[in-house]
């Protein structure tokens, strides 16, 4: 497969990748902690979602930069709002799928399968409200 993962990863073999680390904050009304992960299936690369808005696409400047046929420059975003995660498709005409279904905007649950163009990820988060 010619598709590849790019961006801020530090190598494969399951190593956790901190794409955009939340700074030490949050205890007194600062930005919240965000813990979620995307695991690229097949390559076993792990990408940490640590921001309330996590952008994905082929263009540099996204939090997660993906190279692959069918991945648009500004493909989709994952938002953390009110203790839950939602994926927002950016008019890709069905190239963003959750559990094999095309989505426009949909809440993500722990262990959902997310397809971004030809690349498949499993999504992992704490099952309930993410902010303690």
């Amino acid at each position: 497969m010619g598709d590849s993962l790019d961006g801020s990863e530090r190598g494969g073999n399951g190593e956790t990748v901190v794409v955009d680390q939340c700074p030490a904050c949050c205890d007194v009304g600062e930005s919240p902690l965000v813990f979620a992960w995307l695991i690229a299936q097949g390559e076993e690369k792990i990408f940490r979602i640590a921001t309330e808005t996590f952008t994905i696409g082929a263009a540099s400047g996204n939090h997660l930069v993906l190279a692959g046929e069918g991945v648009l420059g500004d493909h989709c975003s994952i938002y953390w709002e009110g203790g839950r995660f939602e994926i927002d498709d950016h008019n890709t005409r069905g190239r963003t799928r959750v559990n094999d279904r095309p989505v426009r905007r949909q809440e993500l649950a722990d262990r959902d399968l997310v397809d971004i163009g030809p690349l498949r990820f499993s999504f992992h988060c704490f099952p309930e409200k993410n902010h303690g």
Binding site: F35, W37, I39, R111
Partner: protein, 124 residues
């Protein structure tokens, strides 16, 4: 033994522990996340076998908090499930707000000691 006396100093090298090497190659089965303390926001991958939590660099979960013992906890992941074991502390830890020195772990469990608050995330 005669041949032992003939050995040089480098002949005494012993491969003591290859589990760490083996473990580094195994898949990530979950994460230990840091919710308060100096490394707030960090996450550490957890793999099959023993995952040491402490302030030593050799620990799979290396915490920079000065109050954390060198080897504080072990998170053992095996066929029987996930187990959390206190290795070196006077008071143990709070496991989901209950004092403990050892216990089984579930997805989303909280571990607290002093100002340090950790949470376990299981991948599957």
């Amino acid at each position: 033994m005669a041949d032992r006396a003939a050995r040089g100093p480098f002949d005494r090298t012993v491969l003591e522990d290859i589990t760490a090497f083996r473990q580094a190659r195994s898949p990530v089965l979950g994460w230990l996340t840091v919710w308060s303390g100096a490394q707030r926001g960090a996450d550490f991958p957890l793999r099959a076998g023993r995952n040491f939590v402490g302030s030593q660099r050799e620990c799979q979960v290396c915490l920079s908090d000065p109050q954390v013992p060198d080897f504080w906890l072990s998170i053992r992941i095996g066929q029987a499930g996930w187990t959390l074991i206190d290795l070196d502390s006077d008071g143990g830890f709070l496991h989901n707000d209950r004092p403990a020195f050892r216990g089984g772990l579930e997805d989303g469990d909280w571990i607290r000691a002093g100002e340090l608050l950790l949470r376990v995330k299981m991948r599957a």
